[in-house]
Symmetry: C2
Subunit: 244 residues, 2 copies
DNA sequence: GTTTTTCTGCTACCAGGGTTACACAGAACG
DNA sequence: CGTTCTGTGTAACCCTGGTAGCAGAAAAAC
């Protein structure tokens, strides 16, 4: 998956997209069609915020755009991004699993195009189609890994390491070679939320790296000049980090 | 579930135990028997450490004792406890889901009595018994919630709040009224790992509370004198915190 | 009972990173 | 095309919470 946002054309080839998605890759066309008949299209404009309570009644599958799934501290107003969901991802998976509403905030980072269906319907469908588990369970595993790594990082590593890792995680996805220009379209604020820190700190760090000549930063993009150096900063990279 | 450790008698009534477990509560006796026939008993002595690589080949169900599931920073030697698994819990669920080994450390906090079976067998069994999903999926949801809350807490709250919450979470499980004596049998070190901090800080905090007259601490136990005050320290308690 | 190990209480120290504040650049929007 | 809003660069400040170290208490091991 990539951090880059897909253009949200309305003529998206839904089935092609789902076939690539980790959740539905394995399903054959007939089953996919049957499933799609239960879903309807839904669009959110960039910036739209919804709480777990509100969105908790329907299960969504992202077709284009990115969705921030975050936790908030009402006292300070600070946020952490737990997931930055991509096309092919579903939400809210946790509510889907246990039926409880999530005390989370969902925010469209881009214009979103999604499929949605009532939670109850989604659960029922899953029950009827055990084959779906073949991709669903591994998908859950990946999500849990991502969360576990986030928690581990927050507790064990400093902000520099966390930021370096966040960046390198996206190198994996984008082009593996070349000049390593990452266009994430994320503000420093957004990056900060993803590593559980604050804008000023992210900026400070990027500036520092820039002076070292390790990276070059622009609005919404970042060029890695010295991959080796970055890897060193992200040291002790866990072997099986989520590649989401 | 409770933090107190069950005595690890070897004459445990396995089926009775599994019926109470969130994972197997819903299954009828016949299915349970069939499942048990695939498992064998396994015991670990308190303090035994195993990496995800090593234990990754078998899936375990805890019958008695507690198991720490932790991430480590090899550079500093510090650890975070992601889960403190209890009787009725299974591990490693993440590996079970996606087949990848976990870069985690498992450590027996008490003497452990478990059931275990090859991962492949467990996966196969799950596939054959869709009814199991009725309890398995909600269980996964609860685990994910726990992780999400941990990550959120680490990013958004100070150590005092995190420690207060850790303690109060166990009040829910133990007796709800009375003198609120919690016997957790955990060292300050262990508590620290559970909130992503260090021994000194936990001690400092507990001592502080003790001087305030809010709690009284002893080895392995803690008495809450002023529940109201504690609740205040844990302020902004998320509505749907895991009650694991 | 004695020794050894593990826990606990406490202190001194200091640095990472969070808070606040402000000026400027670049987008967005009418 | 000017106004408005959002994002970026940077500085001063300082407090939480982490590191290091040690002495005594309590368990565990012998």
């Amino acid at each position: 998956m990539t951090l880059a946002c897909s253009p949200s054309q309305h003529a998206v080839d839904v089935k092609a997209l789902l076939h690539q998605s980790p959740l539905f890759a394995g399903l054959d066309d007939a089953v996919l069609d049957e499933m799609l008949s239960h879903f309807r299209r839904e669009t959110w404009k960039q910036g739209r915020q919804v709480t777990g309570q509100e969105s908790g009644q329907r299960f969504h599958i992202i077709l284009s755009g990115r969705l921030k799934m975050a936790q908030i501290n009402p006292e300070t107003g600070r946020m952490v991004t737990l997931f930055l969901l991509q096309p092919g991802d579903g939400f809210d998976v946790i509510s889907l699993l246990d039926g409880q509403p999530d005390p989370l905030i969902f925010e469209a980072r881009d214009d979103l195009l999604m499929l949605s269906t009532p939670m109850q319907e989604a659960r029922h469908w899953i029950e009827q189609h055990p084959a779906f588990n073949r991709s669903f369970l591994p998908y859950l595993g990946k999500q849990m890994r991502t969360l576990a790594n986030l928690a581990g990082d927050l507790a064990l590593h400093d902000t520099e390491t966390r930021l370096a890792r966040l960046i390198l995680r996206h190198v994996d996805d984008e082009q593996k070679s070349g000049p390593l220009r990452l266009t994430h379209n994320l503000s420093h604020e957004a990056l900060a939320e993803m590593i559980g820190s604050v804008r000023v700190v992210v900026n400070r760090q990027l500036q520092h790296w820039q002076r070292e000549g390790v990276v070059v930063t622009r609005r919404g993009e970042l060029i890695i000049k010295e991959l080796e150096a970055m890897l060193k900063k992200a040291m002790h990279f866990p072997k099986h980090t989520s590649h989401q």
